[in-house]
Structures are given as structure tokens and as C-alpha cells.
Amino acid sequence: MVRKKEYKDFESAVSRLEEIVASLESGELSLEESIALYTEGVEIAGVCNRRLTEAEGQIAKLSKMAEQFKLEKLADGEDDD
């Protein structure tokens, strides 16, 4: 699945983060490598955090007309129960 930069989805972001944590905990890295990994990890956590914070959670109807996909916003559905 594609990739908006490296961590398109939370799955890959979190699994990369877990990898980093495991490496850091193994204690087998040089200080330079550790710092690089740590920096990457903090960055991933930040990206996840930001993406989640910014997510709006839209509800939309998808259709396809003339080879074009179209998203049409739907009412929230919370107030019409």
C-alpha cells in the first residue's frame, strides 16, 4: 500500500516505532545510531499524534461517474436516531 512518505498508515508507523524501541532496548547500538533512532522515533510519534489530532472523521458517500470518484459529505447521523 502506498506510501505518503514512509508511514502512510498507523500500522506501519507503530510497527516501526516498536522496532525502534526494541533496538534501543537491546543496547547493542552505538550512541550515534541510538540518537538517530531515537530522533526518528520521536518524529514518528509526533506524526501519528499530529495526524490523529488533525483528523476530522468525515462521513461521506462515494460514487463513481464518468471514471471519476466523487465523495459527497453526509450528515453526521448522530442526531437523527
Binding site: 507503530v14 541510538s34 531515537y38 510519534a45 490523529l52 483528523a55 461521506a60 462515494l62 448522530e78
Partner: protein, 403 residues
């Protein structure tokens, strides 16, 4: 005239007449029997016999009618066939032209369900090895179901309650009747083509076996099977099992439970993120601690504790070098001075001062300060200066005496 009427009919005419008689006498009959010699012809038509203990009846089912079959007829199956008795004129064969056929003794849908299940199972459509894991943190959830009714609202409510950050992408589809299967298939295929959903939920609310039938449709089951995006099926209530449920990557008991499953709680994710970062911090602190203890070991090494020891011998060497350099410099300066003294005395010999020192003088006009070299350079009464070794004498020219 009589002779003429007793003349022989053509074969075609006889068959035609017999056919009319037969078709008029038996416009519609239901016949119960067991299928034998079943042939599904490449043209789409079906040919077979119905038999009981004593007799057989030839049957044909044309493609247009066979399309309405919900189960696959086969030899040995007891069925009820409805149709018209007729004669196939080309070979004079008497047969039942079957319009509808249902299994005898068992529900038609039930049989169809069993048959299709067996067939698709053999093909591997329900193989657990083919099932994809559900994404742990899907951000966009595709839903294929009816845009109206309680089911979609329930699902939206459940998802929003658990995780308001998730996108819900609905592909509206009929979920009942003959138009439902193509629309359900389109929903799954289009969402795959669209690609921007992490998970698909396909489902509908409860109903009779007939109501749920679209989810036993072979086309729908195959679409679910071929989806690259993981599919959760959610058809009816807990007890309802459809072939779509078997083919899906995960079968939820109800649509609400599918929504519950798809919508990971956002708070838990933040907490997990925090835990991972904390572990990273701990790991990093460990590294720093280790680095520090290595540093301490270095600091406590003899070289660090008594650095003078290392320096002393070097200082000595340095001193020697400096002294040597000093000596060399002095020597070089002396040589230079000796070499320089000689040209200096030569230079002095050329200086005008030396000439003056020998008693000569230089005369210049005033105020022009042009050196006087000839009697023509000065007129009587002109001011002139005479430069001698220790100064100058200003005077006025009295007379010009040319040689």
C-alpha cells in the same frame, strides 16, 4: 376432393399438428421425478430426463429459463418441474419444456446454499489461509450497505462513539432482491479501485433467508474473496450465516459488532503511543548511563589522572627545539649583517651627501629649485641657494661670467 384429403401429410405438418394438440391439452403441468442423464449444454440449455420407478420423460430447459435456477440440477436429485408438454418438431421427440424447477423435499434456497457452499469451498474461497488480517488502526472505513435504514445509522453511531477521528466512506447498495448482488459487487470492487479505505464492512440487518439471499450470491461471495482490502461481513443476526460470511476475512455477528471491531478506541492509541515513547526514553537513558560509565573509566585512567607525566618529556623536547631554533636564528642574523655591510658602503659612495662631504656644493634657483648647471640657468639679480653638507646659503647673483 375426398381422395385429395386422404393424401399423406408431410412429416412437418403432422409434428406441428401433434404439437398444437399437446400444448393445448397441457398448457402447464407440474411433474415430480428424479433427474437423470443431466446435460448442461454449452449453449446454456439443459437437457435431462425425469424418471420414476417405471417411466421416463424427456425434458429440456432453455437458457432463458435456466437462468432462474437457484440450485444446480444434477443426476439423482428429486425435483418438481413445471412446464409445457410439447413436441420437438425436428425429431418428433415428445418432451417437457421446463420453465421452473425446484428441489423436492428440501427448500430451494437451502439446497442452493448447500450446493454453492460445497462448490466454493472446493475452490478454496473459504480457505483460512487466504484470509487477510484486519488492520489494527484503520483510519478510513468503507461500508457497503443500504444508505437508508437503521443499520447504517447504528454503525456510524458506534464508530463515532469509539473513535470520532475515523472517516466513514459509504458505498450505497441495495441489500435485497435481484438488483442487490450487482450493487454489492460494485461496492466492493469500486472501494478496492478507490483504494483509500483500510477496511470494508459489507452487511445488512436481519431478515428471512430470502431477504439475505443476495449475500449467498456467487458473484458477491467472489467479490469478497478477491478484495485486496480486508472485508468484515455483517449480515443479519448472530444465527444468520451466509456464504459472504464464510468468504470474508472476518465475520461479525451483527453490523454493530462489525463497527465496534473496526473502530479502535482513539484514547487507547494515544496511550500506546505514550508507552512506546516512554520505552524509547528509558532505552536512551540506558545508553547515556552506559556512555557515562565508560567516560568515567576514561577519566580515571593514568593518562587522565597525571597528564603532566605525559607532558614533561614533551616539554623537554620542545625546549630543546626552541633553544636550537634560537641559536640558529642568531647565527643567521650575524651572517646577514656581514653580508649587508658591504653594499651599504658602496651605496654611500654614490650618495650626493658624500659628494658634499668631500667639499662640493649644489646650487639651485629660487624659488624654482632647479639645479644650476650652466651660466644660462641664472640671470643677474636672481635668488639662488647653495646647498652644502650642513645646510644652505641663499644669495643673489651679481654678474654672469660666461666662459
Amino acid at each position: 376432393m375426398k381422395e385429395q384429403s386422404e393424401q399423406a401429410y408431410t412429416v412437418t405438418a403432422v409434428n406441428k399438428m401433434a404439437r398444437y394438440l399437446l400444448e393445448e391439452s397441457f398448457p402447464t403441468v407440474w411433474v415430480e421425478g428424479e433427474i437423470s442423464n443431466y446435460l448442461h449444454h454449452g449453449s446454456g440449455h439443459r437437457y435431462f430426463s425425469l424418471k420414476d420407478d417405471e417411466s421416463q420423460l424427456k425434458c429440456a430447459m432453455w437458457r432463458s429459463h435456466a437462468a432462474g435456477l437457484r440450485f444446480e440440477p444434477k443426476d439423482g436429485l428429486k425435483v418438481l418441474a413445471q412446464g409445457t408438454l410439447t413436441i420437438y418438431e425436428r425429431n418428433g421427440q415428445y418432451q417437457l419444456s421446463v420453465r421452473r424447477m425446484i428441489p423436492a423435499g428440501m427448500g430451494e434456497l437451502e439446497l442452493a446454499f448447500r450446493q454453492l457452499k460445497e462448490k466454493l469451498d472446493k475452490e478454496g474461497l473459504f480457505d483460512p489461509a487466504h484470509k487477510q488480517p484486519l488492520p489494527q488502526f484503520p483510519m478510513r472505513i468503507g461500508i457497503v450497505t443500504s444508505p437508508t435504514g437503521a443499520v447504517i445509522h447504528d454503525m456510524i453511531r458506534v464508530i463515532k462513539r469509539r473513535n470520532p477521528k475515523l472517516d466513514i466512506i459509504l458505498w450505497p447498495a441495495e441489500v435485497q432482491g435481484d438488483i442487490a448482488p450487482p450493487q454489492l459487487v460494485e461496492g466492493i470492487d469500486r472501494l478496492n479501485e478507490y483504494g483509500e479505505v483500510d477496511l470494508i464492512i459489507i452487511g445488512r440487518g436481519g431478515g428471512s433467508l430470502e431477504d439475505l439471499w443476495a449475500f449467498n450470491d456467487e458473484r458477491v461471495v467472489r467479490a469478497v474473496y478477491r478484495s485486496h482490502i480486508p472485508v468484515i461481513s455483517a449480515v443479519g443476526h448472530e444465527v444468520d450465516l451466509t456464504l459472504t460470511d464464510f468468504a470474508a476475512d472476518y465475520s461479525a455477528a451483527t453490523p454493530s459488532m462489525a463497527a465496534e471491531l473496526a473502530a479502535w478506541p482513539v484514547e487507547e492509541f494515544f496511550a500506546e503511543l505514550g508507552r512506546q515513547v516512554a520505552r524509547m526514553d528509558r532505552g536512551m537513558r540506558g545508553m547515556v548511563r552506559e556512555g557515562r560509565s565508560r567516560l568515567t573509566a576514561i577519566v580515571r585512567s593514568p593518562a587522565m589522572l597525571r597528564p603532566e607525566g605525559m607532558l614533561e618529556s614533551r616539554y623537554q623536547r620542545l625546549d630543546n627545539q626552541v633553544r636550537l631554533l634560537h641559536l640558529l636564528t642568531i647565527k643567521r642574523r650575524d651572517t646577514f649583517q656581514q653580508r649587508a655591510a658591504l653594499p651599504v658602503s658602496r651605496l654611500e659612495a654614490l650618495s650626493p651627501l658624500a659628494v658634499l662631504a668631500r667639499g662640493y656644493s649644489v646650487t639651485r634657483t629660487l624659488p624654482g629649485r632647479e639645479v644650476v648647471q650652466s651660466t644660462g640657468d641664472v640671470e643677474p639679480g636672481q635668488a639662488i641657494e647653495t646647498i652644502v653638507l650642513d645646510g644652505a646659503i641663499e644669495s643673489t647673483a651679481k654678474r654672469i661670467l660666461k666662459k
